[in-house]
Amino acid sequence: MPTGGVDLAEFLQHLFLGLVQGSFYVLLALGLSIIFGLMGIINFGHGVFYMLGAYMGFTVANLIIAPIFGPNIAFVAALAAVPAIMFGIGMVFEKYVISRIYNTDNARFSGVLITFGLSIFLPDFVRMIWGRPGRPFNIPPMFNFSILEIGTFNVSAYRTFVVLVAAILVVLIWFLLFRTNLGMVIRAGTSNNIMVQVLGINVTKVWRQTFGLGIALAGFAGVMISPLFAVDPTMGDDILIQTFIVVVVGGMGSFIGPVIGGLIIGQLWALTPLIGRTVFIVENFSGTMIGPDFWEKASDILLFVVMSLILILRPRGLFGQEGAFD
């Protein structure tokens, strides 16, 4: 609601930025949630796979293709190549690392430790190869225009592209889950994993491909976000925590949960600083105004507050399903 000192254009702008941010949350949270729902793996490596995807995209686009075919084709090539590369990396990681903990005692906790270890290892590995500082990644020239511009409300072509692609992917993932055989087995496994194994379905293959899929989605999100910021070894840290919040808020084991949760958290992330600094104009104890910095941090905290409230009211999250935790 535009109230008090909030300018409508500015409000719409933040709403739009929230939608873009939410799109990234949705892509990451879907992968995280599907992997957790089926395999019981709480993937702390999701953020670094997203980061690795961004570096893969940077390498394919800026280092390999762009010098020959130019930045536009290079970016499209990266969008196509990175999910495939990350799908493979995800499957290899599942096969040689994750699969070793199946059917061991405390497998779930081992999963946390292994993927957490990866989240420590991978950023340094990336620094060794691509260098310590981040690398710039420009918006492809074909997207260098605005679709809509009213005062400070600016709908950039690239951000619009992000939202559209995320929407298409959500539809595709829905299709995969509800209209393919792999999806049926994934849903069956999420619903009653023991039963799937008792029936003698080859779960090894399904788990491997599902993990690969989740990682491919994370990598894809990494490439998509790169032109908006830059590629950086630490880029996956904050967003991982935010994605966990999305999954918890939306509810584990459901398809719609991460989608709605991602959009809600995206708006919270975008609107809190705006509403904070324009509506709550207050001084701190030393008599200076509380500035935008405060509200940026406050939005991080608010995410946790909202998550806590939702957990108190609905312990399984907004769309959580029975059984996903059991």
């Binding site: 209209r179 055989n181 792999l182 049926m184 087995v185 849903r187 069956a188 039963m195 194994q197 008792v198």
Partner: protein, 244 residues
């Protein structure tokens, strides 16, 4: 040759002997029941036949093959299907999908990346079974939304879709009304021969009504075995049950 045989099958949980050297033999096409007071070891014995529990000692022979060391899913592929005491279905899948995924599990080569409508024969098979378990009008309902009795039927449907030769039913009428139990008994009887069925059941009326032969376990031991009449008149069985 019996379709199923156990030889001195035992299960120890620490110091507790749940099943003690049970010899058991079932012929093809029989409808058999295992009864016994609570804690007699019925479900433990059952779980060792299905593969859910490893045996401490002894052997399980299925179709002349020693399957003692095989896991549940391996035995499932050999032709041992089972249902559980606690209803075990996929609550978030439709009735059709529940049965279909079980039928799919029989195919060794299967392309997961194809549409669900691409394997017509699986859908036809699932629909046949859904017809048999009387859920045709709920074909597209989610398993979790079915009534309790319907879920038990669905579970049997899932087991049937795996093409079992031997079907193990663990208290199929648990939680059902007397009328439902009667219907279920008739349904189970209709499945027997060529299918071989072993039933663990508390409901005496059901057991006495449909079994070809009844086996009584007591304290993990084999107590008696015989036709319905023989078991009815067996004094030892009466003593065990009357004391309960």
């Amino acid at each position: 040759m019996p379709i199923l045989e156990t030889q001195k099958l035992s299960k120890h949980f620490g110091g507790l002997i749940a099943v003690d050297q049970v010899d058991y033999s079932v012929e093809k096409g029989e409808l058999r029941s295992i009864i016994g007071p609570n804690g007699a070891g019925k479900t433990t014995f059952f779980n060792m036949i299905a593969g859910d529990l490893p045996a401490t000692e002894g052997e399980v022979i299925f179709n002349g093959e020693n399957v003692t060391g095989l896991a549940t899913f391996e035995r499932s592929h050999k032709g041992i299907g089972r249902t559980y005491q606690i209803t075990n279905i996929f609550p978030k899948l439709s009735v059709l999908e529940n049965v279909r995924i079980a039928a799919q599990s029989r195919k060794t080569t299967f392309n997961l990346w194809t549409g669900v409508s691409s394997h017509r024969e699986l859908i036809d098979k699932a629909d046949d079974i859904i017809e048999r378990i009387q859920l045709a009008d709920k074909r597209n309902d989610l398993g979790g939304t079915l009534a309790h009795g319907e879920q038990r039927y669905l579970e049997i449907g899932i087991a049937l879709a795996t093409d079992p030769q031997l079907l193990l039913l663990d208290e199929p009428t648990a939680g059902m009304s007397p009328e439902e139990s009667q219907q279920t008994a008739a349904f189970i009887q209709s499945l027997a021969d060529p299918l071989t069925i072993i039933l663990v059941e508390h409901d005496m009326e059901i057991v006495l009504g449909i079994s070809d032969k009844i086996t009584v376990l007591h304290n993990g031991k084999f107590l008696a075995e015989g036709s319905v009449e023989e078991i009815r008149e067996n004094e030892e069985v009466q003593r065990v049950y009357l004391r309960e």
